[in-house]
Amino acid sequence: MSKFKKKKSGGTPAISTASLPDIVFMLLFFFMTATTMKDSDLKIENTLPKANQTAKLHKKQYVMYLYAGKPNERYRSSLGGSDRIQLADKMASTADIKNFVILERANRNSEDEKYLTASLKIDKNVKMGLVSDIKLELRKIDQLKVNYTTSQGNPVE
């Protein structure tokens, strides 16, 4: 007669999955808060250069984005291989920048307009010729606040 009788094993107990939704929701909320919506599908290569003297951009409502770079592999046959500008979803030429800026301004409160910054997301292999054309257009339309958007890192290795 033993006191320590083995319990009859009734098979492995089922793992409760009741908290699974909670865990997944937690992940979901994390990603919802930590990320931003992709607002435009880039048709160009966009590897930003590195810099470390950077400042953070203010809230998104005060920023407009201008992209430039070589067209992606996929679009190279239709768009060619030279550096191009992309505004929102469309490929553009320097002449379109003016209208783009006016449109972006019109979409903001007049209150926010003076904080509006142009974020230049330009691929590091773009030639300066194009960049200065963009800057000239921005100056002509009086969009003087610019931010050369970069990734964090030391440019001098």
Binding site: F31, A51, Q53, K56, H58, T117, L138, R139, V146, P155
Partner: protein, 205 residues
């Protein structure tokens, strides 16, 4: 007619809740990016069809030339980009005429008179790559930031970069008096060490 006895309300099956949440999670993972929203802030000069050429003494200009092979020429000497920041710092706080009390410069007769007079002139070739341009910008802005932070820390116990960010943040308007408090400080530092970084139009080839 007797009503049927109603039992406890039936449980809602929550088994598929996880699936729904996963679906949402995957949707957000796919459509969002982790933002890289930082960069070098610059203020472009106003556009003028006929720019006036100011009369500046040659010793007060530091010419930085970048050629199409991404090489640097600073005051007609070939300089490695690693040394650019120190070169610029030495140039700005040289204190040639001895009026600048907060400068630690060596009073080299070839370099600038005072931070107020010092101008850095950046010249690019049309074929220079943007990566190099940003590296040069970064070093020059770094030189100014270094001097401004040092001065600002000494006076107000806070780096200029932080102060400027708070000052320019639209959200700071909400705090009563914060912007008004920072305004004279920011302007004082900007007056002591003005960022005079001029860029010429690149030569078209």
């Amino acid at each position: 007619m007797a009503r049927k006895e109603r039992g406890a309300p039936p449980e809602v099956n929550a088994g598929s809740m996880a699936d729904i949440a996963f679906l949402l999670l995957i949707f957000f993972l796919v459509t969002t990016t982790i933002g890289v929203d930082q960069g070098i802030n610059r203020l472009l000069p106003r556009y003028e069809p006929k720019p006036v050429v100011p009369d500046i003494n040659e010793r007060n200009i530091l010419t930085v030339l970048v050629n199409k092979d991404n090489q640097l020429l600073v005051n007609e000497k070939l300089v490695d980009i690693k040394d650019l920041r120190q070169t610029a710092i030495d140039f700005i706080e040289n204190n040639g005429n001895g009026t600048c009390s907060y400068c630690l410069g060596k009073k080299d007769p070839k370099l600038s008179d005072s931070p107020q007079d010092a101008v850095i002139s950046l010249n690019n070739d049309g074929q220079t790559s943007y990566g190099t341009y940003i590296a040069v910008q970064n070093e020059l802005v770094g030189a100014y930031n270094y001097l401004r932070d040092r001065e600002c820390k000494k006076r107000y116990g806070m780096t200029f970069t932080e102060m400027d960010y708070i000052y320019n943040d639209p959200a700071s308007k909400a705090t009563e008096g914060l912007v008004d408090d920072l305004k004279p400080k920011v302007e004082k530092i900007q007056e002591l060490i003005p960022m005079r970084l001029s860029e010429a139009e690149p030569k078209k080839n």
